[in-house]
């Protein structure tokens, strides 16, 4: 017996035609949908009130780690990324731009030369599963400090090399999470270089949020004052495409 895989299930259903039942008509009624999405606006302020800026996600011991860490989403980047991958990312660099005083191009060696943070944390997918793994990399705060934020900076956007549909993957977080102690640009996983299926050469770890916020194959870090104008305007690929909440803390 095989467990139900998400992707093929979606495929099965997509072919199934969408005959809305009466219940679904209520669920998708715009006023009611607006009310439900409005209630979602309570989640983030309520959690931030409880969390504060600094509360840490739990860190585990090596003995607590998952024997295999499931990879999810895309397992490779686009053609430009593939060219870098073929060279072991030797000529790859991370672009840091937007509302910064000093735009940067940071090669992998520069990221590895910065003060490192290593953390064993639990990755929680929005689908419900969890995996525990070890991540290593510089804090995002270090990179942002090096670039110097302009006063109008409010969001940090991660542009990625992988594509599910038309647009490349992208995600964003606010400055509270961007400057959180455990928010790192991970180039290492479980004591090795970040494997390709987990987003080589660099992925984001923002440990107090769900898996879809942990952008893989990060090519560019863009600092912005608003999420309006970024693709669909909701701040992330799954947020724009499928209506997932931008705040992934819950």
């Amino acid at each position: 017996m095989i467990s139900l895989p998400t992707i093929s299930r979606r495929g099965l259903i997509a072919g199934g035609g969408l005959l809305l039942s009466g219940c679904d008509r209520v669920v998708r009624q715009p006023t009611i949908e607006g009310w439900v999405e409005g209630a979602a606006g309570l989640h983030m302020p309520a959690q931030r009130l409880l969390l504060g800026r600094d509360a840490l996600a739990r860190e585990f011991r090596e003995a607590d780690m998952s024997p295999t860490f499931r990879s999810n989403g895309n397992t490779e980047g686009d053609a430009a990324w593939a060219a870098h991958a073929a060279e072991g990312f030797a000529r790859w660099s991370l672009r840091v731009d937007g509302l910064v005083k000093r735009p940067l191009d940071l090669p992998l060696t520069a990221l590895k030369a910065m003060t490192q943070r290593r953390q064993i944390t639990r990755h929680d997918c929005v689908e419900g599963w969890s995996a525990i793994g070890q991540w290593q990399g510089p804090q995002l705060a270090q990179v942002l400090a090096m670039a110097g934020l302009m006063p109008s900076a409010r969001f940090v956007v991660f542009h990625c090399a992988d594509k599910t549909g038309e647009d490349p993957y992208y995600e964003s977080i606010d400055l509270v999470d961007a400057f959180h102690l455990q928010t790192i640009l991970a180039w290492g996983m479980n004591g090795r270089e970040l494997p390709v299926e987990h987003g080589a050469p660099v992925r984001l770890r923002v440990e107090r949020q769900l898996g879809y916020k942990q952008a893989k194959y990060v090519m560019r870090v863009e600092v912005r004052d608003t999420l309006a104008g970024l693709y669909g305007g909701k701040g992330g690929y799954w947020e724009d495409v499928a209506g997932y909440q931008w705040y992934g803390g819950i």
Partner: protein, 287 residues
């Protein structure tokens, strides 16, 4: 509420048959109980149906902190294809698979097409696979469940409902009293003079056990909450244990609802439903 000239104010005393109390509509349920009851019908239905949709996104349950496809699951919904090419759905509990084709694992959509879904569309909200929308509904109504339960418990503490109607007395805890209530239930003999001991146990179990468990285990699934309150996962045994307990809690609530509805049907449904709507019932009415 209609004022009847024979109306006797309810003072926590149950008007007993044969007493000198007037045969007037007796107060059966307080306004707080009635409001919470009907709000819960809606809230719990939405929570359960959207919750099953969320479960469909990863229909495997584990114990401990982590758990994903490569880890052993204690409960799993799945599909398989036989040699003749026919698809089957089933549930594997602790390694034993039971075929459930047509309902769990594999069901048919409204157009007759086979769908590989843990819970069929007619049980979920929305009826087609939409994790994002189900989460929005689940998390919005969770506020209603949590704040509603907190308000109801405080209100019931203040107006004496818990002390007078739900508190199980020492005499009621005696095996003899419990045995008598079991026998009464088996004989379909239902009494009107307040809740019986089994009824109290059921209500108290839901109020102080299952619903708080659902709220705590639901909160523990949020990575943000886990950073704010790490003790939640210490108590529940890890995030995947919390997810398993969240599912088992739903099974418990489902069982309660089935028994609750059966008891309403067995004990005079018209009078019972009227009691839960108007707060009054005719004294002396018997099923």
């Amino acid at each position: 509420m209609d004022e009847d000239k024979n109306f006797t104010p309810f003072k926590g005393r149950i008007l007993r048959e044969g007493s000198d109390a007037p045969r007037a509509p007796a107060r059966r349920h307080r306004l707080s109980t009635r409001l919470w009851h009907w709000a819960n019908v809606l809230v719990l239905l939405v929570m359960a149906m959207s919750g099953l949709m969320i479960f469909n996104a990863h229909p495997r349950l584990y114990w401990g902190a982590y758990g994903a496809n490569d880890d052993p699951a204690w409960l799993e919904f799945g599909v398989w294809t036989d040699d003749a090419g026919a698809n089957h759905g089933g549930i594997t509990l602790l390694g034993h698979t039971v075929e459930t084709t047509g309902i769990f694992g594999l069901s048919r959509g409204s157009d007759g097409q086979e769908l590989a879904l843990a819970f069929p569309g007619w049980m979920t909200l929305p009826s087609t696979y939409d994790l994002a929308l189900a989460r929005s509904w689940h998390l919005a109504f969770a506020w209603g469940l949590a704040l509603g339960l907190a308000a109801y418990l405080l209100w019931s503490l203040a107006n004496g409902h818990i002390r007078r109607d739900l508190h199980i007395t020492r005499a009621e805890w005696s095996p003899r009293s419990i045995a008598r209530d079991v026998v009464d239930h088996l004989r379909f003999r239902f009494h009107d003079d307040g809740y019986g001991v089994l009824q109290k146990l059921a209500y108290a179990g839901v109020l102080f056990g299952l619903l708080p468990l659902m709220i705590a285990s639901g909160l523990a699934l949020s990575p943000g909450m886990d950073a704010a309150a790490p003790w939640l996962l210490d108590v529940l045994g890890g995030r995947q244990s919390a997810r398993s307990l969240h599912f088992l809690g739903l099974c418990g609530i489902g069982l309660f609802v089935v028994v609750h509805l059966a008891m309403v049907l067995a004990s005079g449904p018209v009078n019972q439903v009227r009691g839960m709507i108007t707060g009054q019932k005719r004294e002396g009415d018997r099923p």
